[in-house]
């Protein structure tokens, strides 16, 4: 799950990583009296927040109140701003990029650094990026900071060393997939301060982190609702509702539709199941997304095709589905399954491409 900047900074504080003094508000009534110049930062899970106008700087109480009013409830990069982080302004001598993430290839945590702070790391040239791999069986040791400091020019080496150790501890203890500080600010007194935070916590670790059991707000309402039912549901913006089984087959289904110039409304992985009710649950989510057509693509392996067929029929009746349902049903018990569907007036194909062609035809006809 992606954490808001202010939540990432709370973690930083807990591990002794300096952050600018500040506070969070949901509401302008919670603003404290203006005392010094502050940044007003929209708490949304989106990059390039500043460029999109999500960060304002106030040099008076009026500015503080007016900008806060302006930002709260506004839409930045298509996301509603529900919270603001009001932070003391830091004088900036230098900006550094620092993150710890997982390197999939080496299967290790990796520290990524660059003296080019404040920019998206993707846009920094490779030769200005420095990487250190950490052996997870050994963990962090102080020489890693020394190696980092051979690359980064930082005056306050002791503070940097302690910060890097803290960040690594936070990364491991909090089961993070990413902890990014961009920019890591060095101020005119050579203090090192985390200017921003981007933290992603491993969803699969939440059983040992009660503190993160909050609403994961980079998901839409429907996505969250599905997640609570243990479905992976992703909104895609098209018009063809999709139910498939297995993440791979579901992705393949979306890809195939797209290659046929059709636009999927969603990703929904039914999972490996043999339960009619779960099929009904899947339909209920897809229907909430208001698709024009529903495409069900099932390969029966563990999941039996006839069970799914029965689930489709019962869903159609239960939810009084008016939309066209196109089904591709293959694998174990496929013939029984297709027979059940045809008997109930639902088109069923053994082949995925034939099913998609049938959908294309509907759109051509319309």
């Amino acid at each position: 799950m992606n954490l808001y900047e202010y939540m990432g900074k709370e973690i930083f504080k807990k591990y002794g990583i300096p952050v600018p003094g500040g506070y969070v508000i949901d509401n302008v009534n919670e603003l404290k009296k203006y005392e010094e110049p502050v940044a007003i930062k929209s708490q949304i899970l989106s990059g390039k927040r500043g460029k999109a106008g999500g960060i304002k700087f106030a040099k008076s109480n009026d500015e503080l109140v007016n900008y806060s009013k302006e930002l709260l409830s506004s839409k930045i990069n298509n996301l509603t701003v529900n919270k603001l982080l009001i932070e003391r302004m830091i004088n900036i001598k230098k900006e550094i990029y620092l993150s710890i993430t997982l390197d999939r290839s080496s299967k290790e945590p990796i520290i990524i650094m660059s003296s080019e702070g404040g920019m998206d790391i993707e846009s920094v040239p490779e030769d200005k990026i420095y990487k250190i791999y950490i052996d997870p069986l050994i963990g962090y040791s102080d020489y890693i900071a020394r190696e980092a400091l051979a690359y980064l020019s930082v005056e306050n080496k002791k503070q940097f060393s302690s910060l890097l150790r803290s960040l690594y501890n936070a990364f491991v203890n909090e089961d993070a997939m990413l902890m990014e500080i961009n920019p890591l600010i060095i101020d005119n007194d050579n203090n090192i301060i985390a200017g921003d935070s981007k933290v992603i916590i491993d969803d699969n670790s939440l059983f040992r982190h009660d503190e993160y059991k909050i609403k994961d707000t980079d998901k839409t309402e429907l996505e969250n609702e599905a997640a609570n039912k243990s479905f992976t549901f992703i909104e895609m913006g098209g018009n063809i509702g999709v139910i498939a089984n297995g993440a791979g087959l579901t992705m393949a289904t979306l890809d195939a539709l797209t290659l046929h110039k059709l636009k999927p409304r969603n990703f929904l992985d039914l999972g490996g199941t043999d339960d009619i009710e779960i099929v009904e649950d899947a339909f209920s989510f897809v229907l909430k997304a208001k698709p024009e057509i529903i495409f069900v693509n099932i390969f029966g392996g563990v999941t039996k095709a006839d069970t799914v067929a029965n689930g489709i029929v019962s869903s159609k009746n239960k939810f009084n589905i008016k939309q066209n349902i196109i089904v591709r049903l293959s694998g174990i018990h496929e013939e029984e399954g297709r027979k059940i569907l045809l008997n109930n007036g639902i088109k069923a194909f053994p082949d995925m491409n034939d099913a998609i062609k049938a959908i294309s035809k509907i759109y051509e006809v319309n």
């Binding site: 997982l102 999939r104 290839s105 299967k107 290790e108 945590p109 790391i121 993707e122 052996d135 997870p136 069986l137 491991v172 089961d175 997939m177 491993d202 969803d203 699969n204 670790s205 059983f207 040992r208 992976t232 992703i234 895609m236 089984n245 297995g246 993440a247 791979g248 087959l249 579901t250 992705m251 393949a252 979306l254 890809d255 195939a256 539709l257 797209t258 290659l259 999927p264 990703f267 992985d269 490996g272 390969f299 392996g301 563990v302 999941t303 293959s330 694998g331 174990i332 082949d351 995925m352 491409n353």
Partner: protein
């Protein structure tokens, strides 16, 4: 054939669970030598005519070589470390939702102790006519000359069935797992398939996320003479979204379908647009 054969002794950690019980039964039907089960607190019971013990240590009399781990995600690390500590040489993790920090530790300890790790979040490994460890449906296989590796489950079954139905048949099928960090990867498996004499051609079913398809492509370009067919899912996936698999995500521009497809093409791999196209791209040898 490779990795396992009909003489491979297999234990199942978590054999009394819903998945463990069902799939160990299916494995036995397939012909796998399931010699013992492990389920803490369920020692001295039996399931599918297989004896159940509290610890891996107590199964050592059966000389287990491989373990299938099908325990709830919070207990996977403990089970895997137990298996490694007791000298198991092949560990397959079925379980989904294993914390990635746990997987890192398992993977490193496995490498240190020369243990082959498959998964987590994988459908397992099937060597046709020999042995199956995992959850792939028994009925889809037929002995042939195609080796398949995939990051998916159901999609793999579908492709295997298509390969079977088209008459080619398979030597070995490995599900590598849908997590961001997995034990055996494409670049590991391609070496094994390349050296396997029975395997005449290879199918790789990749997906968005990470760079293992690209690494495997580089290896194929350099060393592999056998025909390879590739397929990549997730072409239509938006960046930053986990597409059902924890590992199927485009992050900071890395892991796009485009990059993988280009790497495949550059290595001379025939790339299928649809899974159904795969049998047609295989060569009549």
């Amino acid at each position: 054939m490779v990795i396992i054969n009909k003489n491979t002794n297999v234990i199942v950690q978590g054999i009394t669970g819903h998945q463990g019980a069902f799939h160990s039964g299916e494995m036995i039907k397939f012909g796998t030598k399931v010699v013992a089960g492990v389920s803490p607190g369920k020692g001295n019971t039996e399931i599918n005519h297989v004896k159940v013990f509290n610890t891996v240590s107590e199964t050592l009399g059966y000389e287990p070589y491989a373990s299938m781990i099908s325990v709830p995600a919070p207990y996977v690390k403990d089970a895997a470390l137990e298996a490694i500590d007791n000298g198991i040489k092949l560990i397959y993790i079925l379980t989904e939702h294993v914390p990635v920090h746990d997987t890192m530790e398992i993977a490193h300890q496995a490498r240190r102790k020369n243990v082959m790790l498959i998964g987590p979040n994988s459908p397992g490994i099937t060597v046709v006519n020999e042995s199956k460890i995992g959850i792939m449906p028994n009925h889809i296989f037929k002995k042939g000359n195609v080796a398949i590796a995939s990051r998916s489950g159901t999609l793999t079954y579908e492709i295997v069935k298509a390969v079977t139905d088209s008459g080619f048949g398979e030597t070995t099928v490995v599900g590598l797992g849908g997590d961001p960090i997995i034990g055996t990867t494409f670049s590991d498996i391609i070496k094994i398939y390349n050296e396997d004499e029975q395997t005449k051609q290879i199918v790789l079913v990749g997906e968005i996320g990470g760079g293992e398809e690209e690494k495997a492509a580089a290896y194929i370009k350099k060393y592999v003479k056998k025909p390879v067919v590739g397929y990549i899912t997730g072409r239509s996936a938006p960046p930053g979204k986990r597409m059902g698999h924890a590992g199927a995500i485009i992050e900071k521009g890395v892991g796009t379908a485009e990059s993988k497809i280009n790497a495949f093409k550059d290595a001379g791999i025939k790339v299928a647009d649809y899974p159904d196209d795969i049998p047609g791209l295989l060569q009549k040898l």
